[in-house]
Every structure is written in structure tokens, then in C-alpha cells.
Amino acid sequence: MAIVVERKSPTLLERTYLPQIVSGLFITFKNIFKPRVTLQYPDQPPVLPKGYRGAPTLVRDSEGREKCVSCQLCEFVCPSKAIRVTPGEISPDSPYAYIEKAPKEFKIDMSRCIFCGMCEEACPEKAIVLQNEFSINAATRAGLVRNKQALYAAGGVMPDRIKKWKKVKDNSEFGRKH
């Protein structure tokens, strides 16, 4: 049951507001002499916390293989439709031919990206990672659309604990390459 709390009626002095105003003025006056909390941004770099979600990037594994297999789950999950993947096939001559699929083109429109990190969460290959870059700028709108090359350049290498696509089995007993 709701409890009705009687509101205390203010005293005459309180009704003039003057004590409150004076005490308020006193508080703001004290604040003048407190240290400033503003971060002087371009001069002082901000300290980014762990797990900071900056620009999304594509990463390679320790062998330099592109991790992305263009499953397009990031494109699907992206709430702002910033990601556009054009899937492609890995040529049979490549040492990674057994992976079969890799992005032909991978574009992220940084002007649409909202840095929610859902692409990173959805990625089954841990290939797309939101890293620390937060100051993203370009002279044109088109310049804000990063292509595959730019995304890999920004991403670098991020080794995996488990090498999912590494075939440990010796296939020679079957007389097959793969």
C-alpha cells in the first residue's frame, strides 16, 4: 500500500528563498576555485578504457591470412547498414584454397557506422574488430567509405588461440590435396 508522506510546509524564511539562494551562490563560488575537469583534447590524448569501441577494422591471423570469409553476418546485423560485403572465391591455386571464400570487396561507411560493435559480436571468425581509432575524418563523404585495403591496413594482425581453418590431419593417406 502506498504510504502518503505529508509534505513539510516551508518556514517563512524558506518561503523567501533567500537562504537557499545564498547557500547556492556559496556553492557555485566554491566551485570557481576547484580544479578544472576538462580534457584539453588535442594536446592531451584521452585515456581509452579496455574494450573501447572505435573504428571497425579487418584483421589478419598470425600467418597473414585474411580471417574474413565474407559470410556477411556483419552486414546483416549492422543496424545502420554501414557494411557492404561483396563475396568472392579464393582461387584453387592459393595455399588457402580449402577455405574457399574470401571477400572480394569489403566496405564500411564510417559516416554511417555507429560503433555499436554488433559486427564484432556477430563475426564467427573474429575477423572484424573495433579498435581504438576514434578520430575518423576525411575531406569527402566518399573518403569516409573504407575499402578492404584500408580496413586491413587499420586492422593489422590479431592471432587466434585456435586455428580453426588449419587442417591438422595428414591428408596424404587419402592421396588428396584437399
Binding site: S70, Q72, E75, F76, E125, V168, K169, N171
Partner: protein
């Protein structure tokens, strides 16, 4: 004919289902889903996947007297089979008890999924089937999150090309044998087969020889996993991005029901849609790629007058000016919808024009590609555009153009150059070409109006069984094109001063169904289409030969028999 039914008890609920069905179909008919991989409604039952295991039982009878046994509380005692059986291979029987939701059934499914996944590569991120894969769905529902399998997985051939249009990946195969059965039963030839034994069993193709068929790609639709994928669709687009639109195949008068899969105005593939009375679950490979006709290269997308581009509205206005001069002939075609043909008939009546049509014949394969390579020639008969089956030439029309009897030819899609017209005839009359594609007529026509293709409009077609079927718009048309129906209604309003209350397809459909007796009640045909009265056309010699669900003599009986079977 009254259908025979039997009473069964499914998960404790008494139901009445059709006799002679298997348990899987019976359960599905009352809304109880049983998972399965190898079962296919139009193929023979193989029972190889064991996913549809259920428990069945019959009322127990005393062996000596044959009387029903009772439980202690007076209810009928049910003698359940000691082991589960497969739902696809068990026929329903009177009094049968079926359990699909017990703990044991759940355990069966979990065990089957675990075995199927033992050697599965789990490469969903790169698999084209992901999103419409039965294995993926059931693994999600019944599978374990962690594998208990510690050995190395089997390695089988991957990335094998079959007949130049399928990529085969044996590692993904769950040995359901659907593809083997399809080829044997529908194509009538063995193309796929199993090799090796036990867990090393692989799906393989007969070495050498001709493994191609115009129906081969149906195994891709049939494959419950990603073992067989279409080469043309390989790595093009993930299925969950695609929007499926119900459509009808325009390849021939068979009227195959299809789904058009598109994303952002681009068509990626066409797959068959189940219609037991027409195409069951199949379609031809050639029909899957007809959307490529409308790709950029041949597409007519700019209105032209005297070969110079102009505004669409200007071109239409000029058409109407020319039409006012009289002496018109209309060349209609059988790709047009019934509604469009109806408006053409009205237009012809209003301006006293004669309607000419051209047949497009091909080879009849006795299955789903018929001799008549247009989807709607029956519609022209029903709407009264033609009285007898047309031939593939327009020399008669060319003659009257030369004679000066015809001053204007309103030509829809047909290429007059191939049909008896000579270049000088194009000078003698005003040729208005309306179509979605470029051809030699569009190059030299006086006025060229870009129209919309089959995938860019709504409408109905009548197939060889005289079954009227509806199709939907799958993608947006390019700008500067006009739908046939809008163009025709605009011209009709101008020529005859008669107008429709609302110049829309539904308005035309309403009026058409009211005016043509055969089409009574066809405003809203369902997904299966609707057979219409064809007795008026019984003595017309149609070019199609007997084929799947079609007999030349009596198309209606065969088709309606199939229809009742589905229901």
C-alpha cells in the same frame, strides 16, 4: 469422390487424417512438425536419415479372443512398439497412437544430429546453404553446443564441379540420397551415387559420360544441406538477404510456379515453388536463368522517337497523336498478362484495329518445358484476341502495310523484322515499339516506349491446363519505363474516351472477371491457381504434347485429378 480418413491419436490428441498417408504427412496436416532430411513428398521414401523417428502404437488386443485390452482405469491399453520407427516410412492406420514429443523422441533426434554432425565440416560461414539449411536448423534445435568427437574428421572431396552447374562438397553430405532418387525417378537416369562404406561413404558422380540434364539443378533445391550448391549462385549472396516473391516461370506454357529471390532490386536466383497440380516441386534449369534477359545489356530503358532519346511522357503523347490517325494494327504477344490482353481487346474494339499474334514454338521435353514457349497463349484465346492458334509470321500484316491499309503498327515485344517485314515497310507505316528489350525492330521503330518485364509487374497468366495463375512483382523497374497496363489504359482513355474508375490492375481485373464468363470469380486466385472453363477451345489444335500433369486430349481431367490429390 469422398476421401477416406482414419482416426489417429497424435501426442494424446485425437485427429482425423487422410488414409494412406505416412505419419510424417499426417502429423504435418494437423500442425505437428516432425524433423526430417531424406523424406521428400515427390520422391520415394528412403528412410536413410533416421531424423523423423517417433513412437507408434496400436490398441492392444487379446491374442486369443481378439478383444481390446483395457488398462486398470478402464482406458484402452495401447501397445507401443518397443523401439522408435521412422515417420516417413510408416503409414497411418485406424486407431494408431503417435508420440512425437516425448523425452525418448527428443533423445533420438539429439543422437541422430550428433552422428550427422560428427564428420560435418561446420563451415556455415562459407556455405551457400546457410540460412535455408535443414541441418543448420535442426542442429540449432537438437544439437549439442560442444562436440564429444575427439578423432579427426573424415576428409572427402570438396569443390567438385558437376555438369558445369553444380559444386559438390562431399564433406557436408549427410547421405540422405535425395539427389540419387531425384535423378533416378524424375530424370530417369542415374547421375549421383554413393561410394565407399560406413562413415567414409561419399556422394559421387558417375565418372565420364554425360551427367547433364535440364532438370539437374533441382537436386540443389532438394539437398537438405550444402553438399550440392548451384555454381551460378555460388558466393553471390547469403540467403537471408534475399526476398522471395511468388512468381510464374515465363519460359513456356507449362506455367511452373516459382519463387524469385531478389535483394535491392537485383534478382539473384529463381527456385521452384510447390504446386502439386502443375510442377510438383521441380522446374527446368533453363527457366532459372530467364531473369538474365532483363539484365542491363539488352534492356531498353530510354524512350526514343526516331532513334533519339526523349522524355517518357512525350513519347506516350506522340503515340496517342499517331493513334488518332486511325488505320491501326496491334501486334500483341503471349507474354502479356491476361489483364493486358483484355485491355488490348478493348483498345482494338475502340479504334477498330485488328490484333495480330505470333506463336513461339520450341521443342517439347514432355516435362516442364512445353512446345509453346510463351506463358500466356491461352489468355489470348480467353480474352478473344485470337480465334485460332497463330503462326510465326506476319506477312499478312506486312502486305497490308505495303498496300497502305495499315498506317500505324502498335507492336508489343515482337521483332517484326523476323516475321516478314522488310526495312522499307518501316517507312511505309508508323511503327510504335513497346517492349522491355532491345531488338532489331526497336532500333528502327518510329517511337520506342520502354516497358516492364515479367519480374517488374503484377498479373495473371493462363497455362496449358487452362489454369489461371497469379504472379507478383519481384523487383522495381528502371525509371523511364511504363507498365503495359498503364500505357494501354492511357492510350485507351485517349482513344475511346472510356475510362476505368481507377486505372489500376485490380480495377481491370475486376472488370475483366465480370465481362468474361470463363474468368468469373478469378479476381483473387490462390497460390495454386484456378482451372477455368475451357470447353469453348476444345477443338483448337494446341502445339503442346502430353507432359507432366497435362494430356493434350483432356487437360482438365488430368489436372483436376491432381488438384484433388493435393487437397
Amino acid at each position: 469422390m469422398e476421401k477416406q480418413t482414419v482416426n489417429v491419436n497424435i501426442n494424446g490428441v485425437d485427429c482425423e487424417v487422410l488414409a494412406g498417408q505416412n505419419v510424417l504427412e499426417a502429423c504435418r496436416s494437423v500442425g505437428v512438425e516432425i524433423p526430417y532430411f531424406c523424406y521428400h513428398p515427390n520422391l520415394q521414401v528412403a528412410g536413410s536419415c533416421r531424423m523423423c523417428l517417433i513412437y507408434t502404437g496400436m490398441p492392444a488386443r487379446d491374442r486369443a479372443t481378439g478383444e481390446l485390452l483395457k488398462n486398470d482405469d478402464g482406458t484402452v491399453k495401447i501397445a507401443f512398439a518397443p523401439k522408435p520407427s521412422i515417420a516417413c516410412g510408416t503409414k497411418v492406420a485406424e486407431g494408431m497412437h503417435i508420440i512425437t514429443n516425448s523425452k525418448e523422441v527428443e533423445n533420438c533426434r539429439k543422437a541422430v544430429i550428433e552422428f550427422l554432425l560428427l564428420n560435418h565440416p561446420l563451415d556455415c560461414p562459407i556455405c551457400d546453404k546457410a540460412g535455408e539449411c535443414k541441418l543448420q536448423e535442426y542442429a540449432h534445435k537438437y544439437g549439442n553446443a560442444e562436440s564429444r568427437f575427439v578423432e579427426n574428421k573424415n576428409v572427402k572431396p570438396k569443390r567438385v564441379e558437376v555438369a558445369g552447374k553444380i559444386i559438390m562438397d562431399s564433406e557436408r553430405c549427410i547421405e540422405c540420397s535425395r539427389c540419387i532418387r531425384f535423378c533416378r525417378e524424375f530424370i530417369g537416369r542415374d547421375i549421383f551415387g554413393f561410394t565407399k562404406r560406413g562413415s567414409k561413404t561419399e556422394i559421387s558422380v558417375y565418372p565420364g559420360g554425360d551427367n547433364d540434364s535440364n532438370y539437374l539443378l533441382n537436386v540443389v533445391d532438394g539437398c537438405p544441406v550444402g553438399a550440392l550448391t548451384e555454381k551460378a549462385f555460388r558466393f553471390q549472396m547469403r540467403t537471408w538477404f534475399l526476398k522471395a516473391t511468388k512468381s510464374i516461370c515465363a519460359e513456356s506454357s507449362a506455367g511452373v510456379n516459382t519463387r524469385v529471390w531478389s535483394r535491392e532490386g537485383k534478382i539473384y536466383r529463381i527456385t521452384p515453388r510447390r504446386n502439386q497440380a502443375v510442377n510438383e516441386t521441380w522446374m527446368s534449369d533453363s527457366g532459372r536463368y530467364i531473369y538474365r534477359r532483363f539484365e542491363q545489356k539488352n534492356r531498353l530503358s530510354v524512350p526514343r522517337i526516331d532513334s533519339s532519346p526523349c522524355e517518357l511522357q512525350y513519347a506516350i503523347d506522340r503515340c496517342m497523336e499517331i493513334m488518332k490517325l486511325g488505320n491501326i494494327a496491334i501486334v500483341a504477344n503471349a507474354w502479356q498478362t491476361v489483364e493486358e490482353q483484355f485491355v488490348i481487346a478493348e483498345l482494338a474494339k475502340a479504334c477498330g484495329a485488328k490484333v495480330h499474334m505470333v506463336s513461339h514454338l520450341g521443342e517439347d521435353d514432355g516435362k516442364l518445358v512445353s512446345a509453346d514457349r510463351t506463358p500466356n497463349m491461352r489468355g489470348a484465346f480467353v480474352t478473344g484476341l485470337v480465334k485460332e492458334y497463330p503462326k510465326a509470321d506476319l506477312r499478312g500484316l506486312a502486305e497490308s502495310v505495303r498496300a497502305g491499309e495499315v498506317k500505324t503498327v502498335l507492336c508489343f515485344r515482337e521483332d517484326l523484322n523476323d516475321l516478314g517485314f522488310e526495312p522499307k515497310d518501316f517507312k511505309a507505316a508508323n511503327i510504335i515499339y513497346c517492349g522491355a528489350l532491345e531488338n532489331s525492330t526497336s532500333q528502327i521503330a518510329k517511337i520506342c516506349v520502354p516497358m516492364r518485364g515479367e519480374f517488374e509487374k503484377y498479373g495473371m497468366w493462363i497455362n496449358r491446363q487452362f489454369r489461371i495463375q497469379r504472379f507478383e512483382k519481384a523487383v522495381e523497374a528502371p525509371k523511364d519505363t511504363i507498365s503495359d497496363i498503364s500505357f494501354l489504359l492511357t492510350v485507351l482513355r485517349d482513344v475511346s474516351k472510356q475510362s476505368f474508375a481507377m486505372p489500376s490492375i485490380s480495377e481491370v481485373r475486376k472488370r475483366m472477371c465480370a465481362e468474361i464468363p470463363a474468368l468469373k470469380g478469378c479476381e483473387n486466385v490462390g497460390d495454386e491457381g484456378k482451372l477455368i472453363d475451357a470447353s469453348a477451345f476444345a477443338d483448337i489444335d494446341f502445339p503442346e504434347s502430353d507432359a507432366m500433369h497435362y494430356t493434350k486430349k483432356n487437360p482438365q481431367t488430368e489436372a483436376s485429378a491432381r488438384e484433388s490429390e493435393t487437397k
